[in-house]
Amino acid sequence: MTRCTASDDAANAAARQGWMRLFALSDAAALEAALPGGLADEVRVLRAPEVGLVMVRGRTGGGGAPFNLGEMPVARCSVALADGTVGHAYVAGRDRAKARAAAILDALMQRPEARAELERTLIAPLSAALAARRQAAAEKTAATRVDFFTMVRGD
């Protein structure tokens, strides 16, 4: 497989981790809709979208030695753009189209000009949607928090 370029320093890696996470946690439809038109000629598939498994591990007691909990399907894909920029994707589930879209977007996000545009049109809304989804769930959970009160007994 193609290695990352030397310019892929820690800061770049951190930024890339951020968007790759967001792609994995977002709906396929949003990713596919964000693909610029007329890209088909430019995208070269390095690794065709394929589905496999990831063995999910836990830790004994939550913080001890690792153990194998069970597997999770994952779709992956790798692409290259005409300028040689390589994009990868690993997204939980069996959606090959999502993996392909995420790989192309991963490549585009490494191009400064495309990235500025995508930050605004894709990353910001996906980020907001994920935060809103989590916030809504957290608020429903918070409503079930127990408030203990002490019964004062008069003797």
Partner: protein, 357 residues
Amino acid sequence: MYVAVKGGEKAIDNAHALLAEERRGDPAVPELSIAQIKEQMTLAVDRVMSEGSLYDADLAALALKQARGDAVEAIFLLRAYRTTLPRFAASLPVDTAKMTINRRISATFKDLPGGQVLGPTFDYTHRLLDFSLMADAAEAPRAAAAPADDAAMPRVVDILNHEGLIEADSAPADAEPGDLTREPLTFPAGRDLRLQNLARGDEGFVLALAYSSQRGFGNNHPFAGEIRLGGVEVEIVPEELGFPIVIGEAELTECHMITQFTGSKTQPPQFTRGYGLTFGRNERKAMAMAIVDRSLRAGEFDEERRFPAQDEEFVLGHSDNVEASGFLQHLKLPHYVDFQGELVNVRALRAEAETVR
């Protein structure tokens, strides 16, 4: 003499056609969709994912539909499906302390950072049939909401361990854990293999063993230190990237059981721990798993192994419902020749017995 027997193809085809028709039921009743099963039979889906050992709610729902709601058959279908896929990677161990919490309770400590959060629970329901569910609801039920703070929800056993009264986790060794989907189980098994086995084990079997231990068939009087349910992000380190990336989220149930331990020659009196972790919402299973995990640690604490729940070979060898069901159901295969042999044998023995008499 060897007699080859053939036949039954037509009967088998027709039996499968009959099965398909009966699975569908009355065509006048609308067919169940996978989405309906996934959204409304969530705990059945979660059990199938957990024991099928494959985190895929759509496939678990499909398996339940195909299996006519038979959980063990559905689990078998998922296990069979997974064998068709290559394994790309193992994840980094998930961090349950960073779970997005959906439920978190402790039966041992009332006031704990983050509080007691009940979440969607059957607890405190009266177990009375709700006949209103027999009709289509006019509108969807709505949960209440309250302001959510970002209060951390550390694991109870970690925050209350500063006195050293609760056994600490073993140092997080980075040793490669054993994998019983790759190598056959051998004994003695490490705790890693025991936990993997129990996580995929049959809920009913693990529950019954935990119950036996609670009732005195084993020395286990546990407290539910903490039960938590929620989502964790799953990370892998792809070779081509060399750094960890999140590939998705998994909902998990985790349980810490705490058991009093009076000490041994080498260890001071303290509370020891049993651990349960499952895919999805499987609270009963996670609790039972934690009790059985602790029971199986008898050897570590110089406890006499006298009961089934303490016997690793017994527990791990019989927990898998796909294996158990397969071995049981193979009895339906033709045993005509074996039986003929035994028949001849019994006739001979009987004739012999009559001659003696």
